[in-house]
C-alpha cells in the first residue's frame, strides 16, 4: 500500500531551483519594471526575454532526454495535518515548451518594437507581455494541478488584458470580456476536476496523482483507492462514473483555453488585440496550454473521457475549417485556422496519440506564429497608407491583392507557413499532421462503426485547410492591388513597401522553422527527433476496466495503412490547393467580383461566414433564455416575494406604531414623571447650595447644636 506522505516529502535541495526561479523572475521583472523605462521599454523587455530564452535553451540542453525528468518538490504551506506542496517537473515536453514560449515571446517582443512603435501605451504592452510569459512558464514548469490552475488563471488574465489592450475600442473590450467569460466557463470545469481528484486522493501533485491512480481499482462499479496517510489506512470510494467525470471536467479547462467546441467563439473575437499578441497568445502558446495541460493529465483520463476529447476535437477542427473558408478578414482566417488546428491536437490526445498531439503543438506554434506575424507585416505596412482622407480596413483581404510584388519576403514567408499548415511534404505541418491522421485512423479502425465519422471529419479538414489558406494566399498576394481602385487613389500604389528588418527577421526565422528538415530529415514523423522525444507514456494508470486502447496495439494496426494514408492526405491537401488556385487565380471571376461584396449571399456560405451561427445561437437563444428567465425571476421577486416582504413590513410598521404609542405615553410617562420628580427635588435641594460658605458653616453648626441637644437631653 502506498503512503501518501511519501509523495509529499520535499526532494533534496537541487541547485536547479535557482534556474527555475530565474526563469520566472525575469519576465516578472519585465512586468514590473517596463513601465519605468517608458520609450525604452521594448529594449529592456526584449533584453530580459533574450536572457530568459538563453536560460531556457541552456536548461533544455542540460536536461534533454532525462527520463522521467527532474522533479523538484517542496512544501508550500500546511494547514493542520494537510500539507500543500509544489513541484516542478522538467521533462522533454516541458523543456520544449519552455524554449518555444520564450523563443516566440522573444520574437514577438522584437516584432512589436516596430509594430507598436507609435503606440503611447508601449510600456503597458510590454508589461503585459512579461506577465503573460511569466504565467505561461508557470503552466509549463509546475507539476501540481493546483499551481497549474493558478497560472492557468493568470494566463487567462494576461490574455484578457492583451485582447483588451486597445480598450478604448468598444469591440476590443467586448472581445476581452467574451474571452474571459468563455474561459471562466471552462475553468469551472477544470476546478470541478481538481475537486474530484482531491476528494479521491487528497493531493493535487501530478506525480502522486499518477501513482495513486495506478493503485486505484474498480470494485462493483465503484472507484476505490486505499492508501496510507501518516501510517493510517484510508479508503476512498466514489462511483465509477466520477473517474470519467474527473477526466471530462479537466478537459473542460482545455476546452475553454484551447478554444474547443462549444466554447471556441472567443478566439476569433480575440483578434481585436494587437497582431503580435495574436501570434504569441492566440496562436502559438496560450491556446496550446490547453493541449499541454491535457498531455500532463493524459494518463489520468479514462476511455470515456478520451472519447469525448476526440469527438470534441474532431468537431472543432471541422467546424472551424469550414468557418475559415469564407472570411474576408485575414486575421479571422488565421484565427479559425488556429481553432481548427487546436481541434487536431485535441483529437490527437483523444485518440491516444499523445506524442502526435504534442508534436503538432510544437510545429504549429512556429508556422502559425509565422503566419500571424506575416499578416502583421502586411497590416502594418497597409496601415501606413492610411491617411485622413483614405480610410479602410487594413485587415480586409478584399483591399489587398498583388502584394507579392511589393512585399516579396513577406510573401514567401507567408507561403511557406501556409504550405506547412496545409500539410505538404517537406514542411513541418506535414509530419505532425500525418502522425495525427494515422493515429486517428488506427483508433477508428479499432473502435469501428460510427467512429469512422471522426476519421472522415479529420480528413475533410485536411482539404478544407489547404483550400482556405491557399485562398488567403491568392487573395492577398496575387492579382492586382485592389485598394487604389476601390478608393480611386492610384498614387498610393507606389507607397506600399516591404516591412523593415525588425519586422522581417522574426518572420523569416519562423518561416525557416516551418520546414520539416528542422525536425528531421525523413518525411516520416516517427523519425523526427522532436516526435521521438515526447513518447506516449507506455503505462497507463487508469484502472484496467476504464483503460483506453493500448498504444502499441494501435500503432501496429495503423502501420499497415501508413503509406496510403499519407498519399491520401497529401492528395487531399493538393486538391484543396489546386481548387483554391483555380477559383481565385488572377482574372478569375470570383476573385475579381469580390470588391463590392460586403457579405456572402448564398446561405451555405453564410453558414461558414457566420461560423455556423454559433454566436447568434448563444446571443439569441442562451442569452435570451437566461434574460427571460431573469426577467421572470425578477418579476417573481418584485411582485410575490417583495409583496410578502412588504406586507410583513407593513404589519410590522403598524405594530411598531402601537408599541410606539405605548412607549410614548405609558413608559415615557413614567420616565418623565421620575425625571420631573428628581428635577423638583433637585431644585429644592439646590437652593441650599447657596455657594456661600458661611451658610454652610451656619447649617453645620446648627446641626451640631441639635445633635448635642439630642444627646444631652
Amino acid at each position: 500500500m502506498t503512503e501518501l506522505n511519501d509523495f509529499l516529502t520535499p526532494t533534496a535541495f537541487n541547485p536547479l531551483i535557482y534556474w527555475v526561479l530565474a526563469l520566472f523572475a525575469l519576465p516578472l521583472l519585465s512586468f514590473f519594471t517596463s513601465g519605468l523605462f517608458k520609450g525604452k521599454a521594448p529594449v529592456w523587455s526584449g533584453f530580459l526575454l533574450a536572457v530568459n530564452t538563453c536560460l531556457s535553451v541552456y536548461l533544455a540542453l542540460q536536461h534533454w532526454g532525462l527520463e522521467p525528468g527532474v522533479v523538484i518538490k517542496g512544501t508550500w504551506f500546511e494547514t493542520g495535518s494537510t500539507a500543500f506542496t509544489y513541484s516542478f517537473l522538467l521533462d522533454n515536453p516541458a523543456l520544449i515548451m519552455l524554449v518555444i514560449v520564450n523563443f516566440i515571446s522573444l520574437l514577438v517582443h522584437i516584432f512589436s518594437a516596430e509594430y507598436m512603435r507609435h503606440d503611447k501605451a508601449k510600456p503597458r504592452y510590454y508589461a503585459y507581455l512579461g506577465l503573460f510569459t511569466f504565467s505561461m512558464l508557470g503552466i509549463v514548469l509546475f507539476h501540481n494541478l493546483l499551481f497549474i490552475f493558478i497560472f492557468w488563471e493568470l494566463v487567462g488574465l494576461s490574455s484578457y488584458l492583451l485582447i483588451g489592450f486597445w480598450f478604448e475600442k468598444k469591440s476590443a473590450s467586448l472581445a476581452a470580456n467574451k474571452a474571459f467569460i468563455m474561459n471562466r466557463i471552462g475553468d469551472l470545469g477544470f476546478l470541478t476536476g481538481l475537486m474530484i481528484l482531491y476528494t479521491q486522493f487528497e493531493t493535487l501533485d501530478l506525480g502522486a496523482l499518477k501513482l495513486l491512480m495506478g493503485d486505484s481499482r474498480i470494485e462493483d462499479g465503484n472507484w476505490v483507492i486505499n492508501y496510507l496517510k501518516n501510517g493510517e489506512e484510508v479508503i476512498h470510494s466514489l462511483d465509477g462514473r466520477w473517474l470519467s467525470a474527473a477526466g471530462i471536467a479537466l478537459f473542460c479547462g482545455a476546452v475553454g483555453k484551447s478554444a474547443q467546441f462549444p466554447l471556441q467563439v472567443w478566439l476569433p473575437d480575440a483578434m481585436e488585440g494587437p497582431t503580435p499578441v495574436s501570434a504569441l497568445i492566440h496562436a502559438a502558446t496560450m491556446v496550446a496550454a490547453g493541449v499541454f495541460m491535457l498531455s500532463r493529465v493524459f494518463v489520468l483520463l479514462d476511455a470515456q473521457a478520451l472519447e469525448v476529447v476526440a469527438i470534441v476535437g474532431a468537431i472543432t477542427a471541422l467546424m472551424a475549417a469550414v468557418a475559415a473558408l469564407s472570411q474576408f478578414d485575414i486575421k479571422k482566417v488565421l484565427a479559425y485556422s488556429t481553432v481548427s488546428q487546436l481541434g487536431y491536437m485535441v483529437l490527437a490526445m483523444g485518440v491516444g496519440a499523445y506524442d502526435a498531439g504534442l508534436f503538432h503543438l510544437f510545429t504549429h506554434a512556429f508556422f502559425k506564429a509565422g503566419l500571424f506575424l506575416s499578416a502583421g507585416v502586411i497590416i502594418h505596412q497597409l496601415h501606413k497608407l492610411e491617411t485622413d482622407e483614405v480610410k479602410f480596413n487594413t485587415q480586409d483581404m478584399r483591399v489587398m491583392g498583388g502584394l507579392r510584388t511589393y512585399m516579396p519576403v513577406t510573401f514567401f514567408c507567408f507561403l511557406f507557413c501556409s504550405l506547412s499548415l496545409a500539410g505538404l511534404p517537406a514542411f513541418s505541418g506535414f509530419l505532425s499532421k500525418e502522425a495525427i491522421l494515422i493515429n486517428t485512423h488506427a483508433w477508428s479502425v479499432e473502435k469501428g462503426g460510427g467512429y469512422y465519422l471522426i476519421e472522415l471529419m479529420a480528413f475533410a479538414t485536411v482539404i478544407l485547410t489547404a483550400f482556405y489558406i491557399m485562398r488567403a494566399v491568392m487573395l492577398v498576394f496575387t492579382g492586382k492591388f485592389r485598394l487604389p481602385e476601390l478608393k480611386g487613389t492610384p498614387e498610393i500604389v507606389g507607397k506600399l513597401k516591404e516591412g523593415n528588418m525588425t519586422l522581417l527577421i522574426p518572420v523569416v526565422i519562423l518561416a525557416v522553422l516551418s520546414f520539416s528538415f528542422v525536425f528531421g530529415a525523413s518525411i516520416s514523423a516517427e523519425d523526427s527527433w522532436l516526435y521521438q522525444s515526447v513518447r506516449t507514456p507506455r503505462d497507463t494508470w487508469v484502472p484496467k476496466e476504464y483503460i483506453a486502447m493500448s498504444q502499441a496495439e494501435m500503432l501496429a494496426k495503423a502501420g499497415t495503412h501508413h503509406t496510403w494514408l499519407e498519399v491520401l492526405s497529401v492528395g487531399l491537401a493538393l486538391a484543396g490547393i489546386v481548387i483554391a488556385i483555380l477559383i481565385y487565380k488572377p482574372g478569375a471571376k470570383l476573385a475579381e467580383g469580390f470588391d463590392g461584396k460586403r457579405e456572402p449571399v448564398s446561405p451555405i456560405v453564410q453558414v461558414s461566414f457566420y461560423h455556423w451561427y454559433q454566436d447568434v445561437l448563444y446571443t439569441k437563444v442562451i442569452l435570451k433564455f437566461i434574460l427571460t428567465q431573469s426577467k421572470m425571476l425578477a418579476w417573481f421577486d418584485e411582485k410575490i416575494l417583495d409583496g410578502c416582504v412588504n406586507l410583513l413590513a407593513r404589519t410590522q410598521v403598524v405594530v411598531a406604531h402601537l408599541t410606539g404609542m405605548f412607549d410614548r405615553y405609558i413608559i415615557d410617562g413614567f420616565v418623565h414623571l421620575t425625571a420631573f420628580t428628581s428635577g423638583k427635588v433637585g431644585q429644592l435641594t439646590r437652593s441650599i447650595q447657596t455657594g456661600n460658605v458661611q451658610t454652610y458653616i451656619l447649617s453645620a453648626i446648627a446641626m451640631l447644636i441639635m445633635l448635642l441637644l439630642w444627646f444631652a437631653f
Binding site: I688, T690, G691, N692, Q694
Partner: protein
C-alpha cells in the same frame, strides 16, 4: 477664682467669633471672627494649663495655636488679596463659585 469663669469667657469669645464669621460679608471681617475663635480656644488651654505648672501642656499647646494662627492669617490674607484681585471684591456674598 474658679476656672469656670475663664471657661465662660472662652465660650463667650468663641460664640462672638462664630457670630462674626456667620454674619459678616467682608472676608477680612470673617478673618477677624476666626481670630477671635482661636483666642477663645487659647484661653481655655491656658486656663487649664494654669493648674498644671509642672508639665505646661496647656501653655505649649497655646503657643502652637498662636503659631498656627499666625500662619493661617498670613495665608488667608494672601488668599483674600488674591481673591480680591480676581473678583474685584472681598464681598463673600458675591464670591459664590460653589453655588450649585
Amino acid at each position: 477664682m474658679p476656672v469656670e469663669h475663664l471657661l465662660f469667657l472662652g465660650a463667650v469669645l468663641f460664640c462672638i467669633g462664630l457670630f462674626v464669621v456667620l454674619t459678616r460679608k467682608n472676608a477680612i471681617a470673617v478673618l477677624i471672627g476666626v481670630e477671635l475663635m482661636l483666642n477663645a480656644s487659647n484661653i481655655n488651654l491656658v486656663a487649664f494649663g494654669h493648674f498644671d505648672p509642672d508639665f505646661l501642656q496647656g501653655q505649649i499647646f497655646a503657643l502652637f495655636v498662636i503659631t498656627v494662627a499666625a500662619a493661617e492669617a498670613a495665608v488667608a490674607l494672601a488668599i483674600v488679596v488674591k481673591v480680591y484681585q480676581y473678583f474685584q471684591t472681598a464681598d463673600l456674598d458675591k464670591i459664590s463659585e460653589l453655588k450649585g
